[in-house]
């Protein structure tokens, strides 16, 4: 399979790899996908009391397109409000990375990861 230049660039220089403290009340953690399906993304967002995303970190088990999709969204969501981040669509991710049809699910997973991280953050806050 031929990869787009942007996928290769993110794959070779992934942004914001790492982990945040999952017990921090300001950190939301999203873990999506399944090992049996060949991709798992962990996305963590550190969200300020003003609702702005201050930091984002990821780790991904998956193909190059999955790694690139998660790397890209960590860049995008930093500085967004939670509401803005909820609006990030997989189609935008796929378009930015030139993903071929068989790799669209990677962008779907990245969108799911944002939503899961925010849901985790909100659940923590509600407690």
């Amino acid at each position: 399979m031929a990869y787009s230049e942007k996928v290769i660039e993110h794959y070779e220089n992934p942004r914001n790899v790492g982990s945040l403290d999952k017990n921090d009340p300001n950190v939301g953690t999203g873990l999506v996908g399944a090992p049996a399906c060949g991709d798992v993304m962990k996305l963590q967002l550190k969200i300020g009391d003003d609702g702005v995303i201050q930091d984002a970190k990821f780790k991904t088990f998956g193909c190059g397109s999955a790694i690139a999709s998660s790397s890209l969204v960590t860049e995008w969501v930093k500085g967004m409000t939670v509401d803005q981040a909820m609006e990030v669509k997989n189609t935008k991710i796929a378009e930015e990375l030139n993903l071929p049809p068989v790799k669209i699910h990677c962008s779907v997973l990245a969108e799911d990861a944002i939503k899961a991280a925010i849901a985790d953050y909100k659940a923590k806050r509600a407690r």
Binding site: V17, A34, A36, C37, G38, V40, T60, G64, L109
Partner: protein, 410 residues
Amino acid sequence: MALKLPIFMDNHSTTPVDPRVLEAMLPYFTTDFGNAASRTHVFGWRAEEAVEQARGHVAALIGASAKEIVFTSGATESDNLAIKGAAWFHKGRGNHLITVETEHKAVLDSMKRLEKEGFQVTYLPVETDGRVNLGKLEAAITDKTLLVSIMLANNEIGVIQDLVAIGELIKRKNKLTLFHTDAVQGIGKVPFDVEAARVDLASLTAHKMYGPKGVGALYVRRKPRVRIDPIIDGGGHERGMRSGTLNVPGIVGFGMAAKIAKDEMAAEGMRLLALREKLRKEIQARLPETFVNGSLEHRLPGNLNISFGYVEGESLLMALKELAVSSGSACTSASLEPSYVLRALGIGEEMAHSSLRFGLGRFNTEEEVDHVVSTIVEKVERLRALSPLWEMFQDGVDLKSIQWEAGAHH
């Protein structure tokens, strides 16, 4: 010798043509271009002579006689011809065929086609080491069983079946049941003899043994005579079993490849085994959580199929762009399913996604192996640093205890 990149370690997919093979082929494209079926002039006679010499070399490699070799376009055709041809010819006698879950698609899909025509097919499972359980095979053979098809060596995991024991068992249980083997991956790599294994039909292909692509053969036993229907009708070439003008240069190349294989197999096997073991031992010594898929003992000398836990195969391939190997990961196949061969061993899907297949061949060097080991170690470590699963494993989390949501594409 300076290391040349990229490095080809995918010799189960195909092999380069040996220069000695190419040299033997060349005259048959130009000066000696005749049709081997032309009986009226020297061009035809020369072509025929060359084909017959090649037929002898191919036969000698497998302990057959020249008249038992039918040239085809490759092993896909040979598998189709053996299985469909035998089933069609003998359908008055029974309706049952047996094969194994880990066979090549050319075998499995021929069987599927026959199922649509009303034949019954038993797909035997394999043990966790990739080998057929003889007890299960014995239990599956009935008086209606026309044919059993079991490969010599598997194309993904390199696991070698005990064809001598299997042949003995088949003939003991039902002496009319035909025994076909897809011998493609084992030919010229490990000893194989049609008499010792009591094989009736055997599929071969040139391009996995340093010959050209697009030429293969089906061994069809003469004593006792094995009858099959052709699947290609026409001028009646190859004793009516495979019509079509013979691919003379291809066949000459196949013959030379067979001759070289016979002469050099023993020495080459030892050299490849040493390289393979170096590759395996160094990877496993330097990287924890790596697992060899399938029997190590009963394995082609040049094969290593290994899973790198917590690393996805396609992303690893992407990091290894100067190295040609293949992966059982779903992402590398059109179907988005991980390798059915690995899954038949009972290993988890995540481990199938994490696998790489190395196929060492005649032209690989120790220097290449050293380079591959250091590259793999570096890249696996980098990808593990990026892997949430590796992090969870390091933290002592049992990945099986987590409720994973199914991915969007399943």
